[in-house]
């Protein structure tokens, strides 16, 4: 009988880092599956398969990159090293925060860069400073913006995501306008179940919340950070919303879009790049919440969440250093630090939010008296017309998500008729403006006429007015 010596304790809990990563992988794959099915149903089988293709490309690249790295650095047991490095988790997360139209080529290159420069050069798993997936996605966005998969662009992402659409409004708008605005995405409820275009994995709020709750229940992730982050986002945007007289929608919209939930549950909980202690994590969360919203509102970057992670990652060592000594003896000081950080971050974000100014990309509401065509600015519609003779002009102008085309006939310096030849805005929404009765309102219009937008279809209306105005100007020359 051999009596082995080992230092105490000789007792271990069941949960292991390997089991944590397994749970995380399962959750991530369930989101991949959702995205596959969703895209397949909405855009066709090939588009759905693309999700799987992108995931597979990233995972394989990550594994190969790590294996090669360990081979080069002379590791003895390469398989074990790769298994203990958990590169595939990074790869899947990166794909899930990417848009579906990014080319495979961009995915592969970014994965290699993020695995090597985001993780391995720091000393591998456990040592990296930046969240490697966020690092990889930042590379994709900044270096491969142009590298879109050609066949996919047109049908999937011709439209705006809620984030970009909201951005063009400058974030604040009247409640009635929001009602109308959110209809293009089928309403907030529809968004909760993920039925709207955004990055691959961030759409289905409900699925993400279920995954988060599961992992918190299994103690795979620490709830303090996620809950603090999400509550902060919610509270800050609720207050900002109240300042501007917005309803609850403002807080909910800010919470469920732009990858906040995905980021809070899958990225901020990456323990490697966040502070070690609970108070440290709460400080991190306060900072990240404020940054997410400020970046989103002020810098017009819809991916505020992503950048906030990367920025806060840089502060992680400093936050760790703040929490010193025996947490029981230092309890008061630690509590004060957390409270100060929370209050400062929240106030700054609220202050920034308070000075948001609504933009009006179009005549936003029918309640405002319409101004003369000649005093409207149609430059954002890229309107153009070609003279086809006999006062007939073939025109096109950008509406909400697509470019609409119409034939405008001019007689004696006034509109005789307008006929829509191609409609590319949201069916059931924008086409209210192209109804026969609505089009009849353009008859007799001159450049000094004022024409009201069709309520609920202001983008499409604007494109029509732009075409009318352009045709009138050309006829006048």
């Amino acid at each position: 009988m051999k009596y082995t010596y080992k230092p105490s304790p000789n007792y271990r809990q069941k949960q292991s880092t390997i089991s944590i990563m397994r749970d995380l992988t399962v959750c991530l794959l369930s989101i991949v599956l959702f995205a596959t099915v969703y895209n397949a149903i909405r855009y066709g089988f090939a588009t759905g398969m693309r999700v799987i293709l992108m995931t597979a490309a990233a995972v394989i690249t990550a594994l190969v990159t790590e294996a090669a790295y360990f081979k080069v650095t002379g590791a003895k047991d390469i398989v074990t090293e790769v298994r203990h490095s958990f590169g595939w988790v990074t790869a899947i997360i990166m794909v899930l925060i990417t848009r579906l139209d990014v080319s495979i080529y961009a995915i592969v290159i970014s994965t290699v860069i993020c695995i090597i420069f985001g993780k391995l050069v720091f000393g591998g798993f456990g040592q990296n400073i930046f969240n490697p997936a966020a690092f990889g996605e930042a590379i994709i966005m900044n270096s491969f913006a142009a590298s879109k998969a050609a066949n996919i662009t047109a049908d999937v992402y011709s439209g705006a995501t809620p984030m970009t659409a909201m951005n063009s409004y400058g974030w604040v708008m009247e409640n009635s306008v929001f009602e109308e605005f959110i209809q293009q995405f089928g309403g907030l409820g529809n968004m909760m179940i993920g039925n709207y275009p955004t990055v691959i994995g961030a759409s289905c709020a409900i699925l993400i919340i279920i995954c988060g709750a599961y992992m918190m229940w299994k103690k795979d992730i620490d709830w303090h950070l996620t809950v603090t982050y999400i509550l902060s986002i919610f509270c800050i945007s609720l207050v900002v919303g109240l300042i501007h007289g917005e309803g609850l929608w403002f807080a909910i919209f800010n919470l469920i879009t732009g990858g906040v939930l995905f980021c809070g549950i899958f990225m901020m909980t990456d323990p490697v790049t966040t502070p070690i202690t609970i108070p440290g994590r709460m400080i991190f969360a306060f900072g990240a919440a404020a940054l997410t919203l400020i970046i989103r509102w002020k810098a017009n970057l819809p991916d505020g969440a992503l950048y906030s992670v990367l920025l806060m990652n840089m502060l992680t060592p400093a936050i760790d250093k703040m929490i010193k000594g025996n947490q029981i003896k230092e309890a008061k000081q630690i509590r004060n630090e957390v409270i100060i950080a929370g209050v400062v971050c929240t106030l700054v974000a609220i202050l920034v939010g308070a000075f948001l100014e609504g933009k009006t990309p179009v005549v936003a509401s029918s309640s405002a008296p319409a101004s003369a065509l000649s005093s409207e600015d149609f430059s954002s519609t890229n309107v153009s017309c070609t003279d086809q003779g006999n006062g007939v002009y073939a025109c096109s102008a950008k509406g909400f998500e697509g470019v609409n085309e119409a034939t405008v006939t001019i007689e004696n310096g006034a509109v005789k008729s307008i006929e829509v030849t191609a409609f590319n805005d949201t069916p059931g929404v924008g086409d209210m403006a192209t109804a026969e009765g609505e089009l009849a309102r353009y008859a007799g219009a001159t450049t000094s006429s004022a024409i009201d937008s069709t309520s609920g279809a202001s983008f499409t209306s604007t494109s029509l007015r732009a075409m009318v105005y352009e045709a009138l100007t050309m006829a006048g020359e």
Binding site: Q13, S16, I18, F125
Partner: protein
């Protein structure tokens, strides 16, 4: 135990059902016992010579430095040798060899004693001369705690037994509940405390009822505590019962604690005039054939106890033989050590290789450390030999409870890293140490 520090304790799978309901094996009567001539780190001096006849209850040795502690023979027979070997605390110490004549002749060590009538000083003297010591693991002479009992609010008998696998205290209480009552009331008198209580885990429903019945009509309350580790540790227990934290000693929070086994031993000394001669020891774990509690003379060798419990399970080649519970007990690399008074368990575990991966900075060790430390940062700083950072991390507040290693999902020897950090700091602080 707050929102910000994390729970600072954790429920462990106790495996107590392995031994809890089984009867205690009392037939072990070894031919030879070896009495460790040591207490704490101090040696004890034999007061018998080789060749002397001894009886159960004969005084054989005493510690006589800053503290006083007598030791007594657990068997009748002849003193035959003094030899040096490894103790259950993994230090080398002299052991007094006594050949057992199996006659069990007994001598009453103490005169009948009525603690109720006796003065406070007489009770203190009795406790001192009876050789009472902390049987929960510390082995510290009991009387020392009671030398200056001032402003004591709460006297606590600790029956929590939070180490996994161990049920020795439970069995001891079950079989000797009236001795527990005597000992507890005597210690309560000694503590001059305003209130007294017996603390026990809330899941021990039967025993709670029995204790309540026993202590009915006395000033001693039965208080239940949650089934968490390290609930039996003085600081955690005092905080649980009073909401107070303290610097060095529990008396700063107005508390004095003793282990339930110690109270029972004192009860035995008062009622029966006998010193500590035998110990309830839990033999358990996943590598022992018949897990059970045994009652053995002090100085019984570990291998005899293992044999009496049926030896190891089949096909076992490599085990961890832990003196005590698996959290704080030490794995001893042989089976020749003996049961000392403060030992209460032998945990025999399969030696499984843990798949260690890199630290993922998950912070679990930090959340559960009962001392509020950050074991992970202590480990990192120790590896970097970063003296400056180590000095900010209160390394010496670590009680080596083992929680950080237990909880670590990456299966890192976190506790051992903290120990290394302690040694590193001690070496730096020592005169002549490199700074």
């Amino acid at each position: 135990m707050s929102l910000l520090t994390g729970p600072m304790r954790h429920h462990l799978d106790g495996h107590k059902d392995l031994t809890l309901t089984k009867p205690v094996l009392k037939t072990i009567d070894p031919d030879v016992v070896w009495i460790p001539l040591t207490n704490g780190n101090a040696p004890c001096k034999a007061v018998v010579n080789i060749g002397d006849e001894v009886k159960i209850g004969t005084k054989i040795a005493e510690r006589n430095d800053r503290f006083f502690l007598p030791l007594f023979s657990p068997v009748s027979g002849t003193v035959t040798a003094i030899e040096k070997f490894m103790t259950s605390g993994m230090t080398q110490a002299e052991h007094l060899r006594i050949q057992n004549d199996h006659k069990n002749t007994t001598v009453r060590a103490f005169e009948p004693f009525d603690y109720e009538k006796a003065s406070w000083e007489e009770v203190l003297d009795f406790v001192k001369n009876a050789g009472m010591l902390g049987l929960g693991g510390a082995g510290f002479p009991t009387y020392v705690k009671y030398l200056k009992p001032e402003n004591v609010d709460l006297f606590i008998v600790n029956a929590v037994e939070c180490e996994p696998y161990l049920t020795a205290d439970y069995k001891n209480i079950e079989e000797n509940i009236s001795l527990l009552k005597t000992g507890t009331l005597a210690l309560f008198k000694l503590s001059k405390a305003a209130k007294g209580c017996v603390a026990i885990k809330e899941d021990k429903v039967d025993q709670i009822a029995a204790l309540k019945e026993t202590f009915a009509g006395t000033p001693i309350e039965v208080r239940t505590v949650p089934n968490l580790y390290p609930m039996g540790w003085e600081r955690t227990l005092v905080f649980q019962l009073t909401g107070k934290r303290y610097g060095m000693l529990p008396i700063e929070a107005g508390c004095i604690l003793n282990n339930a086994s110690t109270a029972i031993a004192l009860g035995n000394a008062i009622d029966n005039g006998m010193p500590i001669t035998h110990k309830y020891v839990t033999v358990s774990g996943d590598a022992i054939k018949n897990p059970q509690n045994v009652l053995v003379p002090i100085g019984t060798k570990a291998h005899e106890i293992i044999d009496a419990c049926g030896g190891f399970v089949e096909n076992m080649e490599d085990v961890l033989l832990v003196a005590g519970g698996p959290m704080m007990g030490k794995a001893i690399p042989n089976d020749q050590f003996v049961i000392a008074p403060q030992n209460n368990g032998l945990t025999v575990l399969k030696n499984i290789k843990n798949e260690e991966v890199k630290c993922l900075r998950c912070g679990r060790c930090t959340e559960t450390c009962p001392s509020g430390l950050q074991p992970v940062r202590i480990n990192f700083a120790q590896k970097r030999m970063d003296l400056e950072e180590l000095e900010t991390l209160s390394v010496n507040d670590c009680i080596e409870c083992g929680m950080c290693t237990y909880i670590c999902p990456s299966k890192i020897e976190v506790t051992e890293g903290v120990r290394r950090a302690k040694r590193f700091l001690r070496a730096k602080a020592a005169p002549g140490g490199k700074k």
